[in-house]
Symmetry: C2
Subunit: 330 residues, 2 copies
């Protein structure tokens, strides 16, 4: 392949190729190689997590949020699933000439509200303006740093461990898809976009919690495949246990999407030792963002990779997303 394609940014197999063949070839920094959601770094005696994401979602306003909300939640969640308490965010804006100032104001307001509700401070920022046709209204980058409280690692993941999802999957993907107005459907689906630190940080104290990840680009299936590779294990997911909203299922059926590959922006996958699974589930369900948490799978040594036990009793092998059905989802 000679040119960058949309799928290089999908979080799937082409993204992986780019990272391995180009980024890691030159950027051979120790902290980067782990390819976790956040880097683990040290300044003096302080253990810090650092992460970054750019948000180019289209459209930049959608039911349940806008790119501003997304830019805070995404980075807060990346820090959280890395075992850190999110503390500080930077904010880099690229704005297209002609954007109504009122709309910029709305986004900034949402960023401030979301940051405050998540207990993080926006401490530094930058704004660039580019000509019309050189951006799509607004792109936002946030980098975040947090204080590491717990070290999660895929190495601790063992056969018998259970996999929990903290709620319904695919909501964000469908909300964005419908917001594009390419389809004439009046179905109310809101993005699940939410900061997860208040839900997940209390789990840091539970020993049996071994690993977390937020299934954004590429969805639950992609995260599961990545985990099975990192932990060198097999994963069984049970389709009938995976919570999917009826409306999301309906749109997926109509458009031929698989909810397991759709982005989420307010959900986590958690690997937990069987002995602590019920305890974790109970704690999650007590929180407004975790009410629909469910055990959806298990780690096994009987095979490698990810297999889905389907509702009708069959088995499907899940792989990395090859091509992106829905680019610019975040």
């Amino acid at each position: 392949m000679e040119k960058i394609e949309i799928a290089h940014g999908s979080g799937g197999s082409l993204t992986k190729e780019l990272i391995e063949n180009i980024f890691l070839k030159y950027l051979d920094f120790e902290e980067l190689k782990s390819l976790q959601d956040s880097a683990y770094i040290r300044i003096n005696s302080s253990k810090i997590a650092m992460t970054t994401d750019s948000y180019v979602v289209k459209p930049y306003k959608f039911p349940g949020g806008n790119t501003g909300k997304l830019s805070v939640c995404g980075t807060v969640n990346d820090l959280t699933v890395s075992g850190a308490v999110p503390k500080f965010l930077s904010l880099g804006l690229i704005v297209e000439e002609g954007l109504p100032i009122k709309e910029l104001e709305e986004i900034i307001k949402t960023i401030a509200e979301t940051a405050k509700s998540a207990g993080v401070s926006v401490v530094t920022g930058d704004t660039k303006v580019v000509e019309q046709g050189k951006c799509d209204r607004i792109y936002i980058n946030t980098a975040g740093i947090g204080e590491i409280k717990r070290t999660f690692s895929s190495e601790k993941v063992k056969p018998g461990d259970l996999i929990i999802v903290t709620g319904t999957v695919g909501d964000h993907g469908i909300a964005i898809s419908l917001a594009r107005e390419e389809f004439d459907m009046e179905i109310p689906v809101e993005s699940d976009c939410a900061p997860l630190n208040s839900l997940l940080v209390p789990l840091f104290d539970i020993e049996g919690v071994k690993w977390m990840r937020d299934p954004t680009r590429g969805g639950v299936a992609t995260v599961a495949v990545e985990l099975s590779e990192m932990a060198d294990c097999g994963i069984t997911l049970f389709e009938d246990k995976i919570p999917v909203k009826e409306s999301v299922n309906f749109v997926c059926d109509m458009l031929g999407y698989d909810p397991l590959y759709l982005a989420n922006e307010g959900k986590a996958l958690i690997v937990v030792d069987k002995k602590d699974a019920e305890k974790v589930l109970k704690k999650l369900k007590e929180h407004p963002l975790g009410k629909e948490s469910a055990i959806i799978g298990e780690i096994t040594d009987r095979f490698k990779g990810v297999r889905l036990k389907t509702k009708i009793g069959g088995e499907r092998i899940l792989d990395l997303l090859e091509d992106d059905p829905l680019p610019r989802i975040c």
Copy 2:
């Protein structure tokens, strides 16, 4: 004004308006309000500086560098002038569909080389791909964190202090301008784009060094105006002391640019107590990046604002950049 204009991103008076009327209205976080190049934050007992910048320079390759080199230097320099030793960078790429992978590779290679030469690690990253016509080849955001070694403050700036610039001004602005090929001139001007930490960190030990800033967007004049406002003082700049390359002067004359308002990407302005000025100057000149350092001005209480003593013996009042003669310079 109802819509975002190019000049809102120029670093001049419209940028200031945006920051005051919109950003600070909602993002009322203590650490942000100082509006320094970096935020001062604390994690446990560690004092940390954090900063961010997006780089949208056009064209993304130019004599002396590319947007990758710029994205490392800019963030390293923002940390350094804030009294911090730069340590870690995040890297957020927004890439336009169709960019040749070879060109992406070249940029990533430059980023790695520049980071290594500056002694910083790229620890976390993200890549998004957008459709053709929604980006201009590549935009890069870097956020950086460093360890604070010295607290600079405009409050310490007093009448009698001297202002040093660490080399010729306007090189980056002219290099970019010529690289746009809008002008049919064969004049070799290279961007001064360079990481300044090895030049400036050794000055942290000198008590008389009170304040530093890298004059990027808006140039030396804009930084001087901002300093005069923050320190509530007057500033006299001496035109005949300000080093400007002959080729840069030539192009400025041709195109009607003022080198004092042109961006630099490898220079610093330093305010120093008179007693330590010669010592600082000597140290700067010993470094390859500081050979042409010069004392170019002084702080005064005889007036407010910035006045330029011109070569021909007159006086010109310098103000913030009103409109941007050269957008997307960084």
